[in-house]
Amino acid sequence: MSTIKHRLTPLERSERRLGFAMLAPAFLLLAAVVVYPIADLIRASFTFLHLAQPWMGNPFVGFDNYAKALGDERFLEAVWHTVLYVIVTVPGAVVVGLGLALLANKPFTIKWPVRLGLLLPWALPLVFSGLIFRWFFEYNQGIANAILRGLGFAPLNWLTDPTLAFLTICLAIIWKASSFVALVLLAGLQTIPKSYYEAAEVDGASAWQQFREITLPMLRPAIFVALIFRTITAIQTFDIPYAMTNGGPGNATETLAMYIHKTTVDFLDIGYGSALAVLMFIVSAVITSGYLRYTRRDPGRH
């Protein structure tokens, strides 16, 4: 970027005015649908607002809601569960997605079955995926237990044992999310010139060496994009555990987003729920900016 400042010519100034004018509608729309709701959310988070107790009004309570959150064991548990989902499903989805992308990038003569298999989980609504996996792991009717019984093993409480429930939810999330990751990575793979592999082939690189020395480093920007998106959606994990266990057993699989939903939509405690949502927003923003800083520092991106 140039640091030299120069005076704008009248033409440049008028172009700039036109530019602002053309951006204005988009700005206004953004303000209406993003800025205003966020501002109102932040405002509500500093008030008491419980729709089941309208007689209490909407008084300003300072940081009370935030203080309450830090002492709320269930909130801390939900945060911890969310962190676990991020730790397991983000790398999980990236690894599986990378495998799928590599498979889809193979020069099969008929590409559509692979690509359809890639797109289907992505095209399926989240709740659907959750329901499918719930049917899969149900104690009596589920396929997983049918297989176990068929092999002569005792059926497992997939959805009511906290560890198994966590793992089955992770599996569902990874299945669902890896196709998105695969699509992003497939786009990245297709930008790598074929000659890189041919040169490596001539130079004597094995398939694994080609993957490690060319594919992986060349995919880094795409992997970063996938990681950022996946992390942000993992922080907001809601639909799949909601459909599979509804947070159960107890609240062993409850995520932050589910707790916020419960607090606001079920309990109608809008004030406290807003504070929780603001906290989640801050966590997302911090992680995203961390990623962005890391990618910007990365010199291999030229």
């Binding site: 890189y196 041919e198 040169a199 490596a200 690189a205 880094r220």
Partner: protein
């Protein structure tokens, strides 16, 4: 170092053949250039030698080994790609040393050989940079460095200079030539540029539509082209082709527009077998000039003048024929001027107008 033997090589994609049984013997240490217009199969042929394309039929030998089914890494070759195929995330040194590293060389050896190669190619100061920070010519040197550092039996070049501007191209041609002279490694070099072919090659293979037209030294190719295709492909400006008729008595040729020219002895021999028939006569521009005694003067009119400094090219009309001639810059040609031309008909080529094959080439 190794000779390369290609026998009856065929390549087909499905039912579509692109190489129709090409045979070519490249000698050990030879600089062979494959040249031809795009789509002639020259790159496919090179990639088959490299092992990047499968062989449909025929044989490829490198040295004594039949390599038809060997993967590229076992053919002991190095290749420079048109887009250089430099890894953007690796430094210049890492790019050059890549092949050695992949083959398990130790770090000290890699470093030493990379330094040597960099010195030869004068890119020692660039070793720490990334390809994105290099100019086109520097990238080209790095790509060559990656090839030479491996000390393979054969270098393959796939249009390596086509992304450079004219000035750099000349410089890099010299560089490649130096590398060849230094290492003496067999080189197969693909280009569509006849100047590159002429300047670099020990022998040139001219391909057309998947067939080999002629494989010979640049001089022979230039002086004794086997067909109008080869004759027209080599030389700039291109050879003039004139639809003429051999006189029934075999003593001369008649040009369109009724210009009769007496044939000197060598030409007379060439047209002896086609007396009275139509022929395609080929005359290079340097054999058309101002009349300076010797043969008969032929009247012509100047249509276009292109002064190039060292020489002046002019399009002239002789009867109904338009042809390019090469003139001295002092000849003072003006468009529209009528001049007396001297044609060196003893250097004229005669081709069969139907097949384009030469009848007999000038010595």
């Amino acid at each position: 170092m190794a000779a390369i033997g290609i026998e009856n090589l065929v390549k087909a994609y499905g039912a579509t053949p692109v190489i129709h049984g090409v045979s070519l013997a490249v000698r050990d240490g030879e600089f062979a250039v494959l040249v031809g217009p795009s789509g002639c199969g020259k790159s496919t042929l090179l990639r088959m030698i490299a092992g990047l394309e499968s062989v449909t039929g025929g044989e490829i030998r490198i040295g004594d080994r039949l390599v038809n089914d060997l993967p590229p890494r076992e053919r002991d070759i190095a290749m420079v790609f048109q887009d250089y195929a430099l890894y953007p995330h690796k430094s210049v040194a890492e790019n050059i040393g890549f092949g050695l590293k992949m083959r398990g060389a130790d770090a000290a050896t890699i470093d030493r050989k990379v330094q040597e190669a960099a010195q030869i190619l004068q890119i020692g100061h660039l070793l720490g940079r990334k390809p994105g920070q290099l100019s086109g010519g520097q990238r080209q040197r790095v790509a060559m460095g990656r090839a030479i550092v491996r000390e393979p039996k054969v270098f393959l070049f796939d249009e390596p200079l086509s992304n450079l501007d004219a000035h750099l191209r000349a410089e890099m041609r010299a560089e490649i030539k130096k590398v060849h002279q230094r290492f003496g490694t067999t080189i197969i070099y693909v280009t569509h540029d006849q100047v590159e072919a002429m300047t670099l090659a020990d022998r040139i293979a001219i391909l057309r539509g998947g067939h080999l037209e002629q494989f010979d030294t640049p001089d022979t190719i230039y002086r004794r082209p086997v067909s109008t295709f080869v004759a027209g492909f080599v030389g700039s400006p291109a050879m003039n082709f004139i639809a003429a008729t051999a006189a029934p008595d075999g003593a001369g040729v008649r040009l369109p527009g009724g210009v009769d020219l007496a044939a000197p002895e060598p030409l007379r021999q060439r047209i002896a077998g086609v007396a009275g028939k139509a022929v395609t006569m080929g005359l290079r521009p340097e054999h058309i000039g101002l009349h300076a005694g010797g043969g008969p003067a032929v009247p012509g009119r100047v249509l276009l003048v292109e002064p190039l400094g060292a020489e002046t090219l002019a399009l002239v009309r002789i009867g109904d024929v338009e042809a390019t001639g090469r003139f001295s810059p002092e000849s003072g040609l003006r468009p529209g001027a009528d001049i007396a031309l001297g044609l060196q008909l003893d250097r004229a080529h005669v081709f069969d107008p139907d097949t384009g094959r030469t009848l007999t080439a000038p010595a």
